[in-house]
Amino acid sequence: MRTTPVLTVARYLLLDRVTYLVLPWAWSAFAFGLDVAIIELTPHGDGGDHWTGGLTAAFVVVFVLGVQAVARALPFGLALGVSRRTYFLGAAALAAALAICFGAVVAAGQAIERATGGWGIRMAYFRVTDVLDGAWWQSWLTASTAFLALFAYGMWYGLVHRRNGLPGTAVFAAAQGAVLALLAAIVTWAHDWSRIGHFLAADATDAIPAVLAGLAVLLLAGGLAAVRRLAV
C-alpha cells in the first residue's frame, strides 16, 4: 500500500517502534517503581499527597526522540529521496499523533490514580500540582501539548547539532540558559514572583495548554524554515 510521502516518513520513523512507543513508558514505569520504593521507604507525613515528578521521565524521552529524529534519522531519510520539508512534516505529524496518544495515557493514568487513592499510597505520579491537576480533558490537553512542544524543541536541538556540531549545541543551550537567567533576574527585580505564583494557582490549568500549543506551533514553524537550508 502506497501512502503520501509525509505519512511514509512517519512510517519510516516508526520502524524503530521500541524507541518511539516503548521507551518513553519504559522509563516512566521505571520512575514509577522508583517513586513507589522511595515513598514506601520514607516516613509518612501529614496525610497529604506525595508529589513525585517521576512522570518527567516520559517527557524527557520524548524530547530525546525529537533530537534523534533530526540528528540521526533525517540524513538517511534524505538519502532515500525525501525532501527536508516532507521529512520535517512527517516527523511533526508523528510527533502530534504520539503526543495525542501519550496525553491520553497521562489522562488515563490520572483517572486511575484518583480512583485508587494515589495507587494506595497517596502518590501523585500522573498529577503535577496546579499544572496537571484538572479535569481529564484538561490534563489530556496539557500533556499532549507538552509532549508536542518537547518533541519540537528536541528537533531544534537536532537541527543545531547537525548544523553546528557539539560546540554549536553547547552554545545554543548556554544561550537559552542565559536568557532564562535574565528573565529570572528581571522577575526578581520587578518583585513579580508572587504574581507568577498566583497565576499558576489560579489560571494555569486553563492557560498552559494554549501557551504550550502556541510554543509548539512556533517551534515547528521555525524548525521547518530552518531545516530547508540544512546541508547534510
Partner: protein
C-alpha cells in the same frame, strides 16, 4: 532529449567568507542510461558534487538540473534518486529495518534482489546497523542502492572497506542489474582501474574543477609509455605530444599522448623500445595537469 543531469557553472563554497571552493564552475550534461565514473583525489569535490545532485547540499553558484528540474526540496525529482554515501549516518535501526525503509520510498524496490544481495554479502538482517563492520555497512548501502532501482543511482565510494572478493561481486551485480534495468548510475571511487571496464564515461575532478570529461573508450589506449635507451626514445618521441619524460642512467621512460599504429610498433621494435599503455588510473592522475589534459582530450576527440 532532456539530460538526466545538467550542471551549468556549479560552485560550492565553504567557510565564513566562502574562502574554500569545494566546487568551482562545474559544467556537464549526463544522459540516461549510462554508468559514469566520478574520479579524483581526496578533497577533489566528488562527495560535494553528489550531495548537490541529491539535494543534500546547495550550490552557491550555477544551476543544477536533474530530469529537467532543480533537485533541492523537489520531491518529484528526489523520489527518483538514491544517494548511497560512504559516510552515511543511520538511525538506530536493524538492517532489515533499513531495507524496509527503502522499500517504502521506492515504488520500483526489488525485494527479491535485496534478499539475494543480502545473502550474497552475508549481511545479518537482524543485526543493528551500528554493530555492523565498515565493510558490512558499505555492503548494506550497495543492497539499498541496487534494489531501490531508482532512475538515478548515486554511489559515493561504494566499495570503501570491502575486500577484493566482495568488490568483484559488487561490480558483477552492478553490471548485471544495469544491463537488466538501464538507468543513470554515477559512482565516485578511488579504485579507478577496478571499475574501468564498467564505465562508459569518466569525469575527473581536481580541486573542485572538472578537469576531464571523456568517454572511457576514447581514453583507453589514448596514451602510452615508451621505455628504452635514451637516444632511441628521443628519436621515437620526436614530433609527438609528450606528457612526461624521466631518465634514469642510460634509459628513459616517456609518456606520450595519442594512439600508436602498426608503423609505430614496428619502429619501436626496431629501436628496441618497450611500449606500454597507461591505465585509467594513470590517466586520471595526469589529467590534473592542464597541458596533459589538453593533449589527452584533444587526441581523444580526434
Amino acid at each position: 532529449m532532456t539530460a538526466a543531469i545538467s550542471l551549468t557553472g556549479v560552485g560550492r563554497r565553504y567557510g565564513s567568507r566562502g574562502a574554500h571552493h569545494a566546487l568551482a564552475g562545474v559544467t556537464v550534461e549526463i544522459h540516461s542510461p549510462s554508468i559514469v565514473g566520478l574520479l579524483g583525489r581526496n578533497g577533489a569535490g566528488k562527495t560535494t558534487l553528489l550531495r548537490v545532485l541529491a539535494g543534500q547540499d546547495f550550490a552557491t553558484s550555477g544551476r543544477v538540473s536533474i530530469f529537467g528540474a532543480a533537485p533541492a526540496e523537489n520531491d518529484a525529482v528526489l523520489r527518483r534518486m538514491v544517494l548511497i554515501r560512504e559516510d552515511q549516518t543511520y538511525p538506530d535501526l536493524k538492517v532489515r529495518h533499513a531495507l524496509a525503509a527503502a522499500s517504502m520510498f521506492y515504488p520500483s524496490w526489488d525485494a527479491e534482489l535485496a534478499a539475494t544481495l543480502l545473502d550474497a554479502y552475508e549481511l545479518p538482517a537482524g543485526r543493528a546497523i551500528k554493530k555492523l563492520s565498515r565493510g558490512m555497512r558499505t555492503a548494506m548501502g550497495i543492497v539499498i542502492g541496487l534494489a531501490a532501482r531508482a532512475e538515478m543511482t548515486l554511489f559515493d565510494e561504494p566499495v570503501a572497506g570491502l575486500d577484493a572478493v566482495v568488490r568483484d561481486m559488487f561490480y558483477e551485480h552492478l553490471l548485471a542489474d544495469y544491463t537488466a534495468h538501464p538507468r543513470c548510475i554515477l559512482l565516485s571511487t578511488h579504485l579507478i582501474d577496478e571499475v574501468a571496464d564498467l564505465l562508459e564515461r569518466i569525469l575527473i575532478l581536481d580541486r573542485g574543477r572538472l578537469v576531464l570529461d571523456a568517454l572511457a573508450d576514447d581514453l583507453r589506449g589514448n596514451a602510452a609509455t615508451v621505455t628504452g635507451p635514451t637516444g632511441s626514445v628521443e628519436r621515437f618521441i620526436a614530433d609527438r605530444t609528450t606528457l612526461s619524460c624521466r631518465t634514469l642512467g642510460s634509459r628513459t621512460t616517456a609518456v606520450m599522448a595519442g594512439r600508436l599504429d602498426d608503423r609505430d610498433h614496428e619502429l619501436a621494435e626496431l629501436l628496441h623500445l618497450d611500449i606500454g599503455h597507461l591505465t585509467l588510473q594513470q590517466l586520471a592522475m595526469r589529467a590534473a595537469d592542464s597541458d596533459a589534459r589538453t593533449a589527452l582530450t584533444s587526441v581523444g576527440a580526434a
